[in-house]
């Protein structure tokens, strides 16, 4: 008979919040520490939904310390292309945590039912960021893509990325400026003040040259936001939220 494990962190999950919209299945998955001790430095290293293609977040995601009887939420989205509404799929969250002087692994599972697709409850800007990490040079370089359709009037005018460690900004594209505290955030914005805003990123276009440097040699996923300016109404327009890799605390 197997022995019962006591006096240690152990994990569970609950039914996730699920949204099927814009060909994307978004999940907010609770991770609970149902053990009798705190789990330190929890890191999510992978989230799977059957064989569906993951869209975000970039891995790993640092959850931090999780005390006994406490919970944290992990957000993830997958392509809904190969998912059938009404069918059950297994969600698995895998990761690591520290307890005592050692690092252990965990994995929690949940079957979910794919709901019918709905219209987006909030419209978002179509945009994304790609990151290139050079661990030799200790640089993180970002390229911003405006994924709006060709006829859109939404041009990207700023990008803000959450950070967790000290860093310096080593790259800013021409026509853009940067605002940062060199620790918790970096905000790049186009300096144009009137139409035609020549340095905004047009629909279908991309812009690289956003770069930071730090002594860290590992990455983790953090949030970002991309804002747009409507060149027809000459007003602020939709925002995109996402995540990307940044220098890690660990």
């Amino acid at each position: 008979m197997p022995q019962v494990v006591t006096h240690a962190p152990s994990f569970s999950t609950r039914t996730p919040d699920i949204l099927n919209s814009s060909n994307k299945l978004s999940l907010s998955i609770p991770v609970l520490n149902i053990g009798t001790a705190a789990a330190n430095n929890m890191v999510v290293t992978g989230i799977t939904l059957g064989s569906s293609v993951p869209l975000n977040p970039a891995m790993p995601v640092v959850l931090g310390d999780l005390g006994a009887d406490n919970a944290a939420a992990v957000n993830a989205s997958f392509s809904a292309a190969n998912l059938t509404v009404g069918n059950k799929y297994l969600v698995t969250v895998r990761g690591t945590y520290a307890f005592g002087n050692a690092t252990y692994g965990f994995a929690v599972n949940r079957f979910i039912v794919v709901p019918a697709p709905v219209a987006p409850p909030i419209p978002f800007l179509a945009a994304h960021v790609l990151v290139s990490v050079n661990l030799v040079a200790s640089t993180w370089s970002y390229t911003v893509f405006n994924d709006e359709s060709a006829g859109s009037h939404r041009f990207i005018n700023a990008i803000s990325i959450d950070m967790t460690v000290p860093f310096t900004v080593t790259g800013t594209p021409s026509g853009w400026a940067v605002d940062t505290d060199n620790f918790s955030y970096v905000l790049w914005y186009a300096v144009d003040v009137q139409l035609p805003y020549p340095h905004h990123i047009a629909p279908g276009a991309s812009l690289s040259g956003f770069q930071i440097m730090t002594a860290r040699s590992t990455s983790e996923s953090k949030g970002l936001s991309i804002t747009s300016w409507n060149h027809q109404t000459d007003q602020a327009d939709l925002t995109a939220l996402g995540d990307t890799l940044v220098p890690s605390q660990t």
Partner: protein
Amino acid sequence: MIPLCLLRSRIAILALAVLSLLLPTAARADLILAFTPDFQVANPGNTVTFTGTITNTTGVTLNATDMFLNFSGFDPTSLTDFTQLLGTPDFVLLDHHISPIVDLFSVTVGPSTQVGDYSFGVSVLDINNNSSDMLTATVQVGGSATVPEPSSGLLFATVTVGVILFARIKAFGKYHCSNRAPGFGPSL
């Protein structure tokens, strides 16, 4: 005067109470997870499958896809890719019934894992948040199968005798009393 079948039912309930006191706390959870066996022998790079049974005493019927396995306490470099197999295929587990022996999960041994025993904790949770106790299972890397320790063997024998006893009492009671609805797996 107490009917014979009622008397036998009371004996069965008394026997169940005595047995539950003899068993560890794991046996009193709403879900009872049991491995057959609780260890697997593997070499680096192998993927092994753990099998076992789940006893449903939650008060409601469950599908296999209503139950979720959770793992913790393992060396993440030596044991990877814990994959739940329970629920594929799906089956119905009536209340107060024991599932047949089914594939529960698989785990892969890392390619550079050293010879030794690698243990981890496993529990099962259902869709209504009823949980089993956390049990320990082990992958013996580069080793050979060992005989279960005496206490485990003794406990297994106790459970086996108990199950047989219940089956006999139930069969007798079924003959003399009203029939129960048939279920998947043996009922308790």
